[in-house]
Symmetry: C2
Subunit: 229 residues, 2 copies
Amino acid sequence: MHFTSESVETLVEQFTKLPTIGRKTAQRLAAYVLKMSRDDVAALAQALIAVKDKVKHCPICHNVTDTLPCSICRSPKRDHAVICVVEEPNDVMALERTGEYRGVYHVLGGVISPLDGIGPDDLSIRELLTRVDPAFRQVSSSPANGQGAESQVAEAALPYGDERPAIEEVILAVNPNVEGDTTAYYLSQLLKPLGVRVTRIARGLPIGGDLEYADEATLSRALEGRNVV
Amino acid sequence: MHFTSESVETLVEQFTKLPTIGRKTAQRLAAYVLKMSRDDVAALAQALIAVKDKVKHCPICHNVTDTLPCSICRSPKRDHAVICVVEEPNDVMALERTGEYRGVYHVLGGVISPLDGIGPDDLSIRELLTRVDPAFRQVSSSPANGQGAESQVAEAALPYGDERPAIEEVILAVNPNVEGDTTAYYLSQLLKPLGVRVTRIARGLPIGGDLEYADEATLSRALEGRNVV
């Protein structure tokens, strides 16, 4: 059964296309929109369009950004010799929240997942290899991909000018699940021959977690990765 | 910590203004919007604006509608002598889903709630009384309110022309909570003197519910409202 208003019904249908929003929530949101001021609704609509029109992908780290290159790749305060590889832009934000990490990032745009038909070529893996070893692009079979990202960016915008620092470490911060493990293994096999240190963020008991309620896989991994104190 | 893109950050802030959407969900939605096609995003933005620009309130039942009067008030198949009083447009939809009700509606736009500063004058109560007894508006102290709703609508659009049927029954379908009870009591005190039958939808155990897990208030009400079988 539908609202008596076509417009409300259309909005409900549009809302249900978003993830985590079912028909009940969509109706509740639509009812709220009805009570919002027109200005507030216009601001929301405008923000949606702006995301499609203004947001670009940083040619270096592939994170979402309004400026080219992104604020992290442009920052002279970051350590450009350390790259942290993540799956999605949300993961960059999660790591930035810690306030601990001072290196730069590389956003893959997903993980290797044969079941979903996502292979290495669908991710920005070639671009990562080119960042680590600029010589990589010469030997690459498909020179169109991974064309030196920096060449697309005015060198003046980069903190290191035309003298890019050699990459010392690549930290794999993919999610601790089957697809993440596969991607981490695949990347480490490609990166190690380039003479770079490859690490993966620790897996174990979450802080505030409880041994009693931890699942076996997490507990096994926590045991395996034990540290000397 | 924020996204490296201002536009994405603005969208996240806009999403968090909606009910049931916290910052985490807003980030997830924004990440999804980033992956949507521009056309799909434009359709969502357009639907939002359309709701503010096209949706009106039916001058008779105060439900949301794109046409004046609304499709239910205009329908010759409905029983225009029975009015079901609900709080919000969502409630009309819930009742329509049953497929049982053939009368018309009256949307109050809320319930009497002194704690939230909502009194009878903030709801469409005067308009309800005028629907039940057109003479009511003459004796009303504030003639600006509740000016005969039908007079705002071309009579040809109404299924009963200028001969409106007398209202036989007003069904109170407000929510079974303190505010709903207060509103139902207030309305019944005003409606009964107008010589109309006033009923309230039954409260009791929900279908599929379990005596063992029912709360005391529901169970008391179910006992009190028991029927001869």
